[in-house]
Symmetry: C2
Subunit: 212 residues, 2 copies
Amino acid sequence: MPISKIPDATIKRLSLYNKQLRRLVDENIDIVRSKELADLLSLTSTQVRKDLSYFGKFGRRKKGYDVKLLLSSLCKILGVASDNRIALFGAGNLGRALLGYKGFSERGFCIEAIFDADPEKIGKNFFGKICMPVSDAEKILGEKDIKIAIIAVPDDAVDSVVDIVVRSGVKSILNFTPRRLQVNNDVMVRSVDFTDKLEQLSYFSRHPMDNK
Amino acid sequence: MPISKIPDATIKRLSLYNKQLRRLVDENIDIVRSKELADLLSLTSTQVRKDLSYFGKFGRRKKGYDVKLLLSSLCKILGVASDNRIALFGAGNLGRALLGYKGFSERGFCIEAIFDADPEKIGKNFFGKICMPVSDAEKILGEKDIKIAIIAVPDDAVDSVVDIVVRSGVKSILNFTPRRLQVNNDVMVRSVDFTDKLEQLSYFSRHPMDNK
């Protein structure tokens, strides 16, 4: 199966498998069965086996998966261990929070360039990187071979920044704005929506768990 | 079925249904079939019908669901339309970004109290709220009837803040730190992990889509 035909939903689940596998490694668990992995993620074991089968043979029937081997294979598939060159647009509160976010570097992601339109921010050093003007972004994204753009700009700047990112050939965007981005089909957007999880918590705060 | 027995995974999906329903409303679509909703979320239609059946009868066989009715019912179930009193711990870059995040207020969430341990921040006004000392939090959480706590503090402050939150009786925590929180079973934690989606993008930046 050509790699571009792997369902989007499977790719989403890969990073969830990854997270569970990291926990199992932390807990010194060596082998995991598809049923156990499925239970951890509220999926069926058929689904788990199907998802993983897209990428090769990881487990043996009735033997389960080698946790570390599966984790390292998934990391390789996701490209986590590789060179992930990221540009950040927006050096406001959120942008600076992302620059300082330890989770990124711990998992091999590195922000290589920062852009802002505010003359007060341009030229300033944030976490060791000099903030550059958005007007230079198209040139710099190419020079630095940036693969992923993070968008953390105010609402009214979103469209023009996305235009620049797409024009410069970057195909992956992590969107931190509440806006839905309009891009061509060959550009992949993932949005971090802070409100989704608040909705779930809102439910639980009304229906406390007794013995879960 | 007692409400506390509804699977966690179903509650998670409710906010995803909600998001799709909002899109359909934006696109002036009145009726949606379980199959269509399932396709939008890469689920089976049986799963969709099962999830929604926990909360009552929303659709008619072969007729589909009334989009607006379903959306407003799910909002009510999630408690989104209700009074969601939230406290924010941590007025650093991330905390201030969350205070200014429009997505919260647009969907009925309001941060009622801000706490920080830094004397430089205490007493300051952030987005119309005065930052209070963490040492007063236990008292104030009760007084203000806070239901949800957002944790956006540095790593070394996480444990003590979670202790305070839990002691004060708040049962829902939105965790923005890369740390895994250790809490009792009666406390619901949701973590916003910025790295998951970067991993997915990392995959796509290596395997560009041709014609998706």
